[in-house]
């Protein structure tokens, strides 16, 4: 397993590298954000351990640029910033885990292993996008060809579910279960909301697969 450790304090970085190497990782170290971005974009790492307060480029910016460049390497943020907003921002920008310094090395290793178990090299964008329509779960906003679109909470939930299954057929029963959940709804609610979404986002976006369900049409 190949690991990139991004940490500007050299003694801390060296200790981390030594510990991870001993745990069986192949470790690269970057001491600033610019170098981290460059290495992470070029090399296929299995995980990145990232500090936030970095010279040249902040850790937040590194996360944002990696995800924008469709690099989906799992990122574990290790920062001395302990504010709830710091943590939420890191995760919402596309980090996968967040630990506050100081942390026990044993716990850090366990978090890293858990992150690798989830093993994700598939696209896990923080902002979903399908054929000109984008959906940002963080700001709860939807755009179509760059223009903002107002959706109700229910419409938003249904669109998000379909976007996360883009290209796959999703049955009405599955939509009812995942979008309406235990609240339940009339059986035709799915059809009604599919109609609303088509009206707001274009007829061609949601395709009906007769007898099975719905599918988001890929561009």
């Amino acid at each position: 397993m190949r690991l990139l450790v991004v940490e500007d304090e050299r003694r801390m970085a060296a200790a981390l590298a030594k510990g991870f190497t001993h745990a069986g990782f192949s470790v690269d170290v970057a001491h600033d954000g610019g170098l981290a971005l460059e290495r992470a974009s070029k090399t296929s790492y299995d995980a990145i351990l990232l500090d936030l307060m970095l010279p040249v480029m902040s850790g937040y910016e590194v996360i944002r640029r990696l995800r924008a460049g469709e690099v989906w390497t799992p990122i574990l943020v290790l920062s001395a910033k302990d504010g709830e907003n710091d943590e939420a921002d890191g995760l919402d920008l596309g980090a996968d885990d967040y630990l506050t310094k100081p942390v026990s090395f044993v716990v850090l290793l366990a978090h890293l292993r858990a992150l690798l178990r989830r093993g994700a090299t598939a696209a896990r964008p923080a902002v979903l996008a399908v054929g000109g329509v984008t959906l940002d779960p963080r700001s709860h906003s939807v755009t179509r060809s760059g223009d903002s679109v107002e959706l109700t909470a229910q419409e938003f939930a249904m669109l998000e579910y379909l976007m996360r299954r883009q290209g796959q057929v999703v049955s009405k029963a599955e939509l009812l279960e995942h979008v309406w959940g235990s609240r339940g709804a009339e059986a035709n609610a799915v059809e009604v909301y599919a109609g609303y979404l088509r009206r707001k986002l274009g007829r061609e976006l949601i395709e009906t697969v007769r007898g099975v369900g719905y599918r988001l049409r890929l561009p």
Partner: protein, 446 residues
Amino acid sequence: MTRRVSSWWTTRSLTLRLTIIATVVLATGLASGAAALAAIFFHNRLAAVDANLRAESATLTALIRSGQLPDPLPVPAGQAVLAQVVDPEGTVRAATPAASRVLPILPPAVLRSEQSGHAFTTTASALGSAPLRVSVTSSSLHGVPVLVVTAVSFSDVRATLSALFRTLVIAVPLVLLAAGIATWLAVSSALRPVDQLREAAEEVAYTRGGTAPHLPVPRSGDELARLAHTLNLMLERLHSAMEQQRTFVADAAHELRSPIAAIRTQLDVALSTPTDADEWATVGSDVLEDIERVGQLADDMLLLARLDSNGVGCHEVIDISVLLELSTGPLWVAGDAQSLRRAFDNLVANARRHARSTVAVTAETVGSDVVVMVDDDGAGVPAADRQRVFERWIRLDSARARDEGGAGLGLAIARSVARSHGGDVTLADSPLGGARAQLRLPTVQP
């Protein structure tokens, strides 16, 4: 008892107290006014009545003395004066048209005792129990002693007085009630902004953090509006001071956490991986460096806190040229040598960090100030950042790692020290091409 009354009084609302005070003052004023009115009215009427009696007596006495006794006795037109001329025995000799010609106005006993000619009030008259103002003057007609009795009914004065009294008894409470209500309304409307201020202040007291608290300023331009304005200024100052404090503490926690995390990780890793003696020695010296960083940070924060709260302690006269080992000749300032040395050290350390090869320290007297200049030949500081670099925890050189760059308190401390000595630190361009830090201190006579 007095205490209970006073505690009752002080716990009442201001509106109630002002209303009570105003009403009591008004009631006292009205009552004494009414009493004075009645007294003046009574005395004027009495004086007028007595003057009439005296005039009539004088007229009749003059007639009798000249030997005449007309019957009926003359009376000035329009005056309700009764007069009789009687024997000492009480027989009526002559009377005014309205007076009895048979029955003397006063009983013989009174006639005998009251012959002074002075007016007096009696109810023991032949005219019934109505009060009467009378005077009796003795005279003689053809050598026979007679008495001139003049009288004016006093009951109309009494009636007027009691009518006045009845009117006042009804009117004064009504006026007081109206005045009380008016006072209550006026005071409570004048104090309404106070209540609004209180409510807003209560809200401020129970809300935490967020934006700067603000009290509504009454639209009037009166004392209350000015008070609200001043309170708002105070709240803003407090809020920004608190905000500054909070940021400082959060930054301090963050800055302390970094070296502590490094120490912990280094020890954690060394303990959980095979580490030989040489490696342990390296870990030991690395950890020591981080511990020194923590210690330095703690010292810096303590110094800043001390400078913030009460400035520098002792003020001795110091020769800056000796402190800086310069050959300029003596440059005297008053202050604390230790904290001044700290300020200079910080400026020099900062210049060293940014210099390519040269750092120069010079000092001279400019006007009434001693100016110490620390020059470097580094990249300099852009004009836009020359104030910002003095803020706490500021690091302009984002390309530098934290463990090399210092925590960003050095210049803040230098400025705090200079300001607590009545001077300041500023940044300018250096003739060497980099930045020039100027520390200015007021000079003193040794």
